[in-house]
Symmetry: C2
Subunit: 66 residues, 2 copies
């Protein structure tokens, strides 16, 4: 498993937390949002998920990975 | 139809808008959230919906009617 912490703009409430964590789960990654720190900590298996796919999943929900 | 504009705290993103507008629809009222103004404009039929029920529906979603 690999862990990355992404800086993400635009997450403002628990609905945002849920939509991002759900989107990551759907591609087989585990995400944990820290609203105050504006970060998403993601755990994933490099053999099945790419970092590009993770960023895409977050951006598809309407947030900016910076 | 009666119209009221409520001041509501805690609405931060489009998910919040959706959850409030959906909750109002479920009790038979029509709500329009203005995120920037922190207001919810509600149209409802006084013979079937009370202002107390409207406030309750919004507060049940986790927001404060002030």
């Amino acid at each position: 498993m690999k862990n990355v912490t992404l800086k993400v703009e635009g997450m403002s409430c628990n609905h945002c937390v849920n939509s991002i964590e759900k989107a990551l789960k759907e591609i087989g990654a585990a995400g944990k949002v820290d609203l105050a720190a504006k970060t998403v900590e993601v755990s994933f298996d490099e053999s099945s998920v790419t970092e590009a796919a993770i960023k895409e999943a977050i951006e598809e929900q309407g947030y900016d990975v910076v």
